[in-house]
Symmetry: C2
Subunit: 298 residues, 2 copies
């Protein structure tokens, strides 16, 4: 079995397992199972809607290949003639505004030049920042990283701070996490080591999120908190449509639009000149949407 | 007075007049009057919210200048060292789903090479396409165009069809209208003629829209029609954040984010794999979101 096929098989398993854990956690709604095929390849999109805890969420698997276009070359920062890519991407928008949005992506690329690399990450976007939750989240990511390479967490945490930045709002999307791209097999971390690293992220992801969902989904909330959630969701939309590399890559390569944009929140609200009250929880949250916060030592 | 200052003065008048007409039409809410200043220039953003007929709308005036960045050169398809630009841009999201969204923009650019041009247009995005409304709308635009140049309407109508296209959805944003860019003074239409053309668009715009608001705002509607309006609004968000040249230019030049993104709808809804019922009004609308429809002869 080629390396590519090996990744494909393992990533499919990750998708199935995550659906099973999160479906069990939600208790009410079930994931759809939509297979799609386009010129560029095929995939499976599993979507959950109007659950007890999850308002909208998805876990996508895809496997695509084709010719390198100029747009792709620019988005990837690579040159080549043909490419193959496979990945799992996932996003969950919770019902309760005190539960954060979570996002995970693991992906593997090969180009005809022989070059190959992994990319991905996990990050959290709370509507309301909860310091102890952020600490637990970051320390779990650090534990996974440390098993593979002592430099991974610091480097990938910094990448996430830089990547999940909404320039036109001068704010970070959330509290970050880890993000990596163009991670190539090396003497220190060969192909199998990097594959296992991404698999472990995919395996831990549903556990991390279902714990948060379980502990916070029954917290009471009011209309103002829902409005705030909708305003934060609008920032999520802005990030994904303007900056997100995966969304751009997908739309540029004529991917499956419904699977790419399943990351959009169920709804979003834009309020002109929206402002937060002094000393409110909303203001505290805004003060945490910054780079270079060392969550582990807060 | 320089040509640039002349345009600035006239465009400011257009903004005031449009606010006055649409405020009178709405009967309930008033426009805010927000002056902003940034390194790049200044502007006034007039916003109306939660009106009797208008859920959210804005008329922006801005006047900016600065150095040509590589991103700008790419967005504009021009080379230069410095530029000045002034314009009025406006968008209205109605309360009633049977009333269309309307958008108008007129703008004037000068670059240090001596090159100057006008751009702009008016287009309509119905949540429900109404053929007779579309016919009246397009014939009014043709009447204005014909006064200046017999080729304007056909050329600019085609431009709008091409420009307001949401590639990843394979659908047009609405029923189009007219759109033009890089319209330079020529023997046939000198600077004054082009300025007057854009002024006439700015003058007719509030009349065209207030007639529609008056005639349709009291039509009854239900929850399903509001959901459909919110789904159509999500497509508007996608167009503006992914394709709209003005939005890109504004965000790239570090413009005033709140004024640029005031075009966003008050809310929007994303439904995975949303489909329309056979023979429904929603399906009929989707069938009209196409290029090359000759609305005048339908």
């Amino acid at each position: 079995m080629s390396n590519f096929e090996k990744v494909v098989e393992k990533y499919k398993e990750i998708q199935l397992r995550a659906c099973s854990i999160l479906e069990k956690c939600d208790t009410k709604s079930r994931f759809s199972n939509d297979n799609w095929t386009k010129d560029i390849g095929f995939g499976t999109t599993n979507v959950i809607n109007k659950g007890a805890k999850i308002e909208k969420g998805a876990i996508n698997f895809s496997r695509v290949s084709g010719e390198f276009t100029p747009a792709m070359a620019k988005t990837l920062g690579k040159q080549g003639k043909t490419f193959s890519a496979t990945g799992v991407s996932s996003i969950f928008h919770p019902t309760n505004p005190f539960v954060p949005i979570i996002h995970m992506n693991i992906r593997y690329f090969e180009i005809n030049t022989g070059e190959c690399w992994f990319g991905g990450g996990i990050d959290l976007t709370p509507h309301y920042v909860d310091i102890s939750e952020a600490k637990v989240f970051h320390s779990k990511l650090k534990d996974i990283c440390d098993k593979y390479n002592p430099s991974f967490y610091n480097n990938f945490k910094k990448n996430a701070d830089d990547y999940f930045y909404i320039k036109h709002r001068s704010e970070n999307r959330g509290i970050g996490g880890i993000f990596f791209d163009h991670l190539k097999p090396s003497d220190k971390n060969g192909f199998d080591s990097l594959l296992n690293f991404t698999l472990e992220l995919g395996l831990q992801y549903p556990n991390i999120y279902s714990k948060i969902l379980d502990s916070k989904s029954s917290l009471p909330y009011d209309e103002n908190e829902i409005e705030w959630q909708n305003v934060r969701r609008s920032r999520y939309v802005e990030f994904n449509l303007i900056y997100d590399r995966g969304t751009k890559f997908g739309l540029e390569t004529n991917g499956n639009t419904e699977s790419i944009l399943v990351s959009m929140p169920p709804n979003a609200q834009w309020v002109y000149n929206h402002s937060v009250k002094s000393n409110s929880n909303e203001e505290k949250t805004m003060n945490f949407l910054k780079k270079e916060i060392n969550w582990l030592e807060l």
